[in-house]
């Protein structure tokens, strides 16, 4: 903050002091001044922490509250969708002002094995409750109107745009659009309106809780821990889940003692597999 009065500049040229305020000199300003009604400058140094009148917005009316609720729930549902890609945790570097595209890009590229937080990266029991972070949207389970997409994206929409796509199992069952069951956001909502949303009993919330319970119940929960609310509505898809589980066991048996893979979350396409991908493009 600039404090320190006017320095030496105005001192010699200013007019007489009046009540700690100085009249400005006609010669120092481009406009004409009125001698009867002089413009006075304050010679005092400014306060270190001047009182600041922070304007407070008026409280929200009911309609706005509702709009805000809907927006928050919409956002929460969007975050819950398989297409959401969660940003990696911010670091000091990502805050710094960036000059040029290279520096902007370098902000994002720093999630690799070298930058893992050693305090939280160790596998613990509670990890299985954590939401798995996605670095790429998962298109494989959703239906799309492909005729409106450029052909170069079709493979991606099928969920086959992966380096090892041929090796991986292909989904054969019909793809279904999944509906999100999230109807609340934040802990406060839960307290406030219990089972009621907008005054009517809400079954969706029950469904949401039911989903959670299902996930925690029994063996299944462990295997489908990585599935989220979206794909899970489909109960007939158990073969797929089995296949996935089998995959998981396969992977484990192959790399049981591979220390390198121990920290690996199975899916770090983000940072460091740019190299192996580069040559693989379809264009």
């Amino acid at each position: 903050m600039f404090r320190g009065g006017r320095g030496g500049r105005g001192r010699g040229r200013g007019g007489p002091m009046m009540n700690n305020r100085r009249e400005i000199n006609q010669a120092s300003v481009p406009w004409a001044t009125d001698p009867k009604d002089p413009i006075l400058l304050d010679g005092k140094p400014s306060d270190t922490y001047p009182a600041w009148d922070v304007p407070k917005p008026p409280t929200l009316i009911k309609k706005e509250e509702k709009q805000l609720d809907y927006f928050l729930i919409f956002r929460e549902q969007a975050h819950d969708s398989p297409l959401y890609t969660e940003p990696p945790p911010r670091t000091e570097g990502s805050r710094r002002r960036a000059y040029g595209q290279d520096q902007i890009n370098s902000r994002y590229a720093d999630e690799s094995k070298a930058t893992i937080d050693p305090f939280t990266a160790v596998e613990t029991y509670s990890k299985r409750f954590e939401r798995k972070k996605r670095t790429l949207p998962d298109f494989s389970n959703l239906p799309f109107a492909k005729e409106f997409f450029p052909p170069e994206l079709h493979l991606t929409l099928d969920g086959l745009d992966e380096p090892g796509a041929d090796r991986k199992r292909r989904r054969t069952g019909p793809k279904t659009l999944a509906l999100s069951n999230i109807t609340t956001y934040g802990a406060e909502d839960l307290e406030e309106d219990g089972g009621q949303v907008n005054g009517q009993p809400d079954f969706n919330k029950a469904l949401e809780l039911f989903d959670n319970v299902e996930k925690l119940d029994g063996e299944d929960a462990f295997l489908s821990g990585e599935e989220d609310d979206w794909g899970n509505e489909d109960e007939d898809n158990e073969d797929a889940a089995d296949a996935e589980a089998a995959d998981q066991y396969d992977d484990e048996s192959e790399d049981d003692y591979n220390a390198e893979q121990y920290f690996d979350n199975d899916e770090d396409d983000y940072g460091d597999d740019g190299g192996e991908d580069g040559g693989d493009g379809t264009f």
Partner: protein
């Protein structure tokens, strides 16, 4: 929409907020570099093509991109769709609006559609069917297990579901626990939303950017001219018309679904529906299944949503000016009127008509229609003052203005003549009116001097002696009074464009609203003195400081300070006019003036920056509490934060949630301002 740097940044942050980091990085690059191919994007963002393909597909699915295949190159070019990205901010408002006018079930569907971006009707139906099945299964399981809801293993569940299932354990499927209880209902709601134009059909030019489409259409039409050149004034005018028409055809393609439904008899059913239930609030019980094509791909139509949001804003505006009763009348009038309005602002190219006769006539509503649409519970007698009959000029109050107010041109002799002619016609018509409207004669008279209360009305109608009818006539009179009040306003809420016909000239009205918003923005920053000076400058044009002083009756020091302050925030501008040929700063005049357009740009700029700032602060707060937030996301904690979190964590969490609400509410508020200034 002019894409300035702050707007671009805000859109990027919004995409980041809702769809995540990967798409937002691509989006930022597209905004900064303009249209790009995947290779170019790879070079700019340093991402690998696989990431880019995923991100682009995601953005495209949510209608945030345009793409274009150039005939000369095999590459697809992607371009950012800024309107839709900005409109993400308004999701909450749109959902609330849909819920209010079309019911909670429609809102649920709308939310799903916004969430998925573009979607096939069939997929939507499947998904809902699955959910319905699932709920039924859950319910059956509960029923067989324990009808009284104190089961052993699913304890938690029962406590939540029992409120719905307990009251009627005998009829499990009759009572719709879900908002959407059958696919027929789903389809009928989709039909209604399509009919309201809130949903559009996706067609092959949906993802062409307006510029590309214009270029394609122009080149196609130029080719039809000899030599591929348009020569001469007449040909040029014709060419412009042809381009506009072709573009209109493209635009109307998104309404193809609506047309198809209309062919299937939507309008007849709709009429039935409106006759049956005056308000469109109730959920129809699935009778409107019109065989909607399951392969049809639909997406949200933001343009129409904005029209509906504008109606609400205007209703609020009229409530501010006249009071709530009049605003309800105005609201239902706008609702009727906006059935034929597809967008808030006409496009200068697409809505270009060479001859004025070709221009589609503005939508018109009659008094009877409004009366039918009004809620019967609304008491029209309130909200009107009472004036002596002699104090009202009947001719002035009932004056019919056929022509929309024109913009002032420098030479507009023709318009002058037209205006005179039309006012003559008006007079004629007014004479004729009682003859034409024989039935309504008493009403018309009452409409004029009925402002003085019901005594006169009763006196005139007393002869008619229809007990039931009297009330109705009375209501109509009151309605007319409200309408006349609206049309008399200086803001131009309403135009009495024919006998018992009303229309709204949105352009001047929105201009008035914009001015009100700007004034309040100026007042909030520069205080009452500031707004006083601005109003003076607006009325007088460019003024010298001395002249302002004499008009404003302010001390020079105060005034210069205020003006300088407002100049700094961009509300007033100065112009230097030298006294002599040789410009000398000290001798020249400085004229102050108010430029509404520049002020508007400035206010918008500040608004975008405020919204950016809110999102950045939110991001910072999130980072500060990221440990708690990641804890809350865990599946074993989610939904039971109270039990699982420590008290200190709980406090921190609730503080964060409160701050988040404050920040997002701020964005919503600022967006209200942006909407008025830019979009409506």
């Amino acid at each position: 929409m002019l894409v300035t740097a702050p707007l671009a940044e805000f859109c990027t942050l919004m995409v980041d907020e809702i769809y995540g980091e990967l798409p937002s990085r691509i989006y930022a690059s597209l905004l900064m570099r303009g249209r790009s191919t995947i290779q170019q994007l790879a070079g700019d963002t340093g991402m690998n093509p696989r990431q880019l393909r995923h991100g682009l597909a995601l953005l495209l699915q949510h209608n945030l991109l345009y793409y274009h295949l150039d005939t000369s190159s095999p590459q697809y070019f992607y371009e950012a769709n800024v309107e839709n990205a900005y409109n993400l901010t308004r999701t909450g408002k749109i959902l609330e609006m849909v819920e209010e006018s079309y019911g909670a079930a429609a809102k649920d569907i709308m939310q799903t559609i916004i969430l998925t971006g573009q979607t096939r009707v069939g997929d939507l139906v499947d998904a809902y069917q699955k959910r319905i099945d699932r709920v039924n299964r859950v319910k059956e399981a509960l029923m067989t297990e324990d009808p009284f809801g104190n089961g052993t293993d699913s304890h938690e569940l029962n406590s939540d579901i029992s409120p719905e299932t307990k009251p009627e354990p005998t009829s499990p499927s009759k009572k719709p626990d879900l908002l959407i209880s059958s696919t027929a209902q789903l389809k009928s709601i989709i039909c209604r939303l399509v009919d309201a134009e809130l949903l559009n059909a996706v067609h092959k030019t949906t993802y062409e950017s307006p510029e590309d489409l214009l270029a394609t259409v122009e080149s196609d039409i130029t080719r039809t001219y000899p030599g591929g050149e348009v020569k001469g004034n007449k040909a040029k005018a014709e060419y412009k018309d042809k381009v506009a028409e072709a573009l209109r055809n493209h635009r109307n393609e998104s309404k193809s679904l609506k047309r198809k439904l209309e062919q299937n008899g939507l309008s007849a059913k709709r009429r039935k529906l409106y006759d049956g239930a005056a308000s469109a609030n109730g959920t129809p019980d699935g009778e409107m299944d019109l065989g909607i094509d399951l392969n049809q791909v639909i997406c949200l139509n933001y343009e129409k949503c904005l029209v509906e949001l504008r109606n609400r804003r205007l209703m609020q505006f009229s409530a501010d000016v006249f009071g709530t009763t009049t605003s309800w009348v105005y609201g239902s009038l706008l609702k009727l009127l906006s059935k034929e309005i597809s967008r808030c602002r006409d496009d200068p190219i697409i809505d270009h008509y060479e001859k004025d006769e070709e221009r589609p006539a503005p939508a018109v509503v009659t008094t009877a229609q409004i009366l039918d649409a009004l809620r019967t519970s609304l008491d029209l007698s309130s909200g009107l003052g009472k004036v002596d009959a002699g104090q009202i000029s009947a001719a002035a109050a009932e004056k019919i203005t056929e022509q929309a107010p024109r913009k002032k041109f420098f030479i507009d002799a023709q318009a002058e003549v037209d205006g005179d002619a039309s006012s003559d016609e008006d007079d004629d018509e007014e004479d004729v009116k009682p003859v034409v409207d024989l039935n309504y004669r008493p009403t018309a008279i009452n409409g004029v001097n009925g402002v003085n209360g019901t005594h006169v009305t009763n006196g005139v109608n007393g002869k008619v002696k229809i007990e039931g009818g009297e009330r109705r006539v009375d209501r109509r009179t009151q309605l007319r009074q409200h309408l006349l009040l609206l049309s008399e306003s200086t803001q131009g809420f309403l135009r009495h464009c024919g006998v018992d016909e009303w229309t709204v000239d949105f352009e001047p009205l929105m201009g008035a609203l914009r001015q009100v918003e700007l004034d309040s923005a100026i007042e909030n920053t520069a205080g009452r003195e500031g707004i006083r000076l601005v109003r003076m400058l607006r009325a007088k044009g460019k003024l010298d400081e001395k002249a302002i002083m004499s008009v404003a009756l302010m001390r020079k020091a105060d005034m210069s300070k205020k003006l300088a302050e407002m100049h700094k925030s961009g509300f007033v501008q100065t112009q230097e006019v030298p006294r002599e040929a040789k410009a000398d700063v000290k001798k020249s005049f400085f004229l102050w003036y108010f430029d509404p357009d520049m002020t508007l740009e400035r206010v918008l700029d500040v608004a975008y920056k405020t919204m950016i700032h809110s999102l950045q602060v939110l991001d910072m707060l999130r980072e500060k509490d990221h440990l708690i937030l990641s804890l809350v996301k865990r599946t074993d904690v989610k939904g039971q934060e109270d039990d699982k979190l420590r008290k200190t964590y709980m406090e921190k969490l609730s503080r964060f949630l409160k701050l988040e609400r404050t920040l997002l509410a701020q964005i919503q508020r600022v967006d209200d301002l942006v909407a008025v200034l830019r979009d409506y």
